[in-house]
Amino acid sequence: MNLQEVVATALLLSGCFFYIAGTVGLLRFPDVFSRLHALTKADNLGLFLVCGGLALQQGSPRIAGLLLVIWLLGLLAATVSCHLIARRALQMTDPEQRP
């Protein structure tokens, strides 16, 4: 097992950990806003680590570039989605109960 595989394994495992953390936040947090926060941050970081681990595992620069682009687009999509959903949720809640 060379260094490349060890680092790739570590990245994949920590990516899984962050995904699990995001899901735990999604299930256990009390409020839609805190759930949004947990899901967006943890999942994006998890995706970055998984992409990194897979890029190292594959070893080709072209695939690494493609995975980087996929992660960046995922970041963009998640950011805009989170913002839009949060705005919508804010509009839908009563003014008294707003955080």
Partner: protein, 312 residues
């Protein structure tokens, strides 16, 4: 062993999602379950080593159809003034459980029959696989779609055009009106999203078209991706319905069918059977025309409009 566990999770998830779609508590959650069902189905296609099907299922089944359902739900609310309700009949267990069991028995029976048939050695698939290099493409899906079974694809384009015409007939009587103005038109993030996603969808569509010869891709997948970009433009209010189809739109709508039929008919006076491809260039030419037609037809079907124009 682990692969079996993963496939079992996907299969059970699909069944559960289907159940939740049919027995949803309200229409909104049923629509979301349907979209999720489409996405997991795309994962199932990926597990079955069918990336072309995964692409088409995700883009059309989950993306465009999901967005269409949500927009329809929105329009129904505006039209009727109240939230669409789920009929009590579709939620009753007396109806769904026997129907589900009957469907499961049917699938099981068909599967048992199919698996117990002796495998024929020289089926059409085998022959097509052997003669694929004659087509000039190495992707078997493209070879079948545009080479060996070109009639099917030609008629599918006709079906797509007929669907759009039928939608126009219905829409001319019950004009749905403009989409309720998006509340997020002034959100700057949406502009940034569009300026990145729409060009990328164009790039990915053209890439899929070009890659269709040797890798999973092709006209349908590229057209679906391009249509997804167009749907995004409609949803964010950058494009809106026009009353008439402009000349360019009319030309593009029939372009796929016309080019395909033209290339096919041109072969007749040359002594070849109809729709025999004269070369790989013919396949790429036809696929380009198909891409444009499919993308425009899907976006127009989504917008329920004869044409599109930029929102002023």
């Amino acid at each position: 062993m682990i692969a079996l566990a993963m496939d079992a999770i996907i299969a059970i998830g699909l069944v559960w999602l289907a159940l939740r779609t049919v027995r949803g508590a309200n229409v909104f959650s049923a629509i979301i379950m349907f979209i999720v069902f489409g996405l997991i189905m795309s994962l199932a296609w990926a597990r079955l080593h069918a990336p072309d099907l995964a692409l088409a299922e995700a883009a059309i089944g989950a993306g465009i159809t999901g967005a269409l359902l949500l927009v329809t739900w929105r329009r129904l609310q505006v039209l009727e003034g109240s939230v669409p309700q789920v009929g009590a009949e579709t939620r009753s267990l007396w109806l769904t459980l026997p129907t589900g069991l009957a469907a499961a028995l049917l699938i099981a029976g068909l599967g048992w029959v199919a698996l117990s048939l002796p495998a024929e050695p020289a089926t059409a698939g085998e022959l097509a696989w052997q003669r694929l290099p004659e087509m000039g493409v190495s992707n078997p899906v493209t070879g079948v779609l545009l080479g060996f079974r070109a009639y099917d694809t030609l008629l599918e384009m006709g079906v797509l055009l007929a669907a759009w015409l039928g939608a126009q007939v219905v829409a001319s009587e019950h004009r749905p009106g403009a989409l309720p103005g998006p509340a997020h038109e002034e959100v700057p993030l949406v502009g940034a999203l569009l300026s990145l996603v729409v060009p990328i969808s164009l790039l990915v569509a053209v890439y899929l078209l070009q890659a269709g010869g040797s890798a999973p891709g092709g006209a349908f997948q590229g057209g679906a991706v391009l249509a997804a970009g167009g749907v995004l433009l409609c949803l964010t209010g950058r494009l809106e319905a026009a009353d008439q189809a402009s000349l360019i739109e009319r030309v593009v709508l029939i372009l796929g069918l016309a080019v395909f039929s033209g290339v096919g008919l041109v072969m007749l006076p040359l002594g070849e059977p109809m729709l025999a491809m004269p070369g790989v260039w013919a396949i790429y030419l036809i696929e380009t025309a198909l891409l444009l037609s499919i993308a425009l037809t899907l976006v127009l079907l989504f917008a329920a409009a004869p044409g599109l124009r930029r929102r002023l």
